[in-house]
């Protein structure tokens, strides 16, 4: 049974897992949907009440029924590396590839439906609240007056993109940034704006979850750190990421979150305040983990490889995903 990894060639974080799987003898096929059709080829037939399909990439051929798991890591957009790309061909290729993969009994990290839902930050905040995680007061609005009222109630605010995406034309980054007092909120009318009470943090926490294995890492806010630098991704801090224990109450809530979201993998960001409380910021359903493993030596790649290499579910139980129980959060 084969592990299928959907990612781009330059993804060296995926390399960390492929190397692990190679070491255990588990067959791996790695491909980028951007190369379909061309470097990646597929075929599937639905005949006499059954489905049989094949995938080929890099000289490897795998049957759809021979897949034990699918890791959706950093896949390119289907059919974007063909000679004559088009939106139509992309949709055709995406439907063919993902539609056939959905027809297999393979386990997913993460299933496309779960991934799509999990990317919505408003839904993340809602689910985190329901699961008992502390969430900083947040407003998402296009009403300038609502923003002004919110700023009166919570004078120390940050702004961040709702989607987490960065504009590309021209390429720009939009880090989480502090909002100065007396800011003019008129431009809130021109796009949904996410304002959040700033957590006066003493550390950033990255909690990487692989199935039911948790790896928490902590990066302290350094002495003399610029108080305007609130986004750890863009900060100039030289403080290291260090392994830390996950508080049991947080772990229980995160378990509930993952189960409800039907995620096999999630990278949670928290801000730790002066009282040691972990405030939920977001959950990246395909968040990076290589930088954490490199600094902390936590065996995250091995955990991902172990999860992917676990036996495929019994075909008689197609719903045997990692998290199938419904759960009632607090």
């Amino acid at each position: 049974m084969t592990v299928l990894i959907l990612t781009c060639e330059q993804d060296v974080t995926a390399d960390m897992v492929v190397a692990r799987l190679d070491g255990t003898g588990v067959p791996v096929v790695r491909l980028d949907p951007a190369d379909l059709p061309g470097g990646v080829a597929l075929s599937g037939e639905f005949v006499h009440g059954s489905f049989r399909g094949h995938l080929s990439a890099g000289g490897r051929l795998v049957t759809m029924s021979g897949l034990r798991s699918v890791w959706v890591r950093r896949p390119g957009v289907p059919a974007t590396r063909v000679a004559e790309p088009s939106a139509w061909l992309t949709e055709e290729s995406a439907q063919a590839l993902y539609g056939m993969l959905r027809s297999t009994g393979a386990r997913w990290m993460n299933h496309p439906d779960a991934a799509r839902q999990a990317r919505h930050k408003p839904w993340q905040l809602h689910l985190a609240q329901r699961c008992g995680l502390p969430v900083p007061a947040t407003l998402i609005t296009t009403f300038p007056q609502a923003a002004r009222d919110f700023a009166e109630r919570f004078p120390d605010l940050v702004v961040k993109p709702v989607s987490g995406a960065h504009p590309q034309e021209p390429p720009r980054a939009v880090p989480t940034s502090r909002v100065a007092p007396e800011t003019d909120f008129s431009a809130v009318a021109f796009g949904p704006t996410l304002l959040q009470r700033r957590v006066a943090k003493r550390a950033d926490i990255r909690l990487t979850c692989v199935g039911d294995r948790f790896f928490a890492a902590r990066k302290a806010v350094g002495q003399g750190a610029d108080p305007e630098e609130v986004d750890v991704r863009f900060a100039t801090s030289t403080e290291p990421w260090q392994p830390v224990e996950t508080p049991p109450r947080v772990a229980a809530s995160v378990h509930d979150y993952l189960r409800e979201a039907q995620l096999a993998y999630g990278a949670f960001d928290f801000a730790e305040d002066a009282d040691g409380i972990w405030w939920f910021l977001e959950c990246n359903q395909a968040g990076q983990f290589g930088f954490v493993e490199i600094e902390t030596e936590q065996p995250i790649a091995r955990a991902v490889a172990d999860w992917l290499a676990a036996p495929a579910p019994d075909p008689a139980s197609p719903d045997d995903q990692v998290f199938v129980e419904s759960v009632t959060c607090e």
């Binding site: 974080t13 492929v18 702004v159 930088f291």
Partner: protein
């Protein structure tokens, strides 16, 4: 008409740096010129920021 959040945008750090490794489709791994696996050379990965939380942000939402 600029959305409020874009008042806080800054020029993106160009990630188009040349990397000292290349993808080997036979191994399905990136390999350094001396044949070692890029994933095993933490110094190279650190220097390039290839595994950091902003790597790939251009095309993916998940940091």
């Amino acid at each position: 008409m600029r959305p409020f959040a874009l008042n806080y945008a800054r020029p993106a750090q160009q990630l188009e740096v040349s990397v000292p490794y290349a993808y080997d489709s036979r191994l399905q791994l990136n390999v350094l010129p001396d044949g070692r696996l890029a994933a095993h050379d933490y110094a190279v990965l650190r220097e390039l920021g290839a595994t950091t939380s902003t790597a790939g942000s251009k095309t993916h939402f998940d940091d």
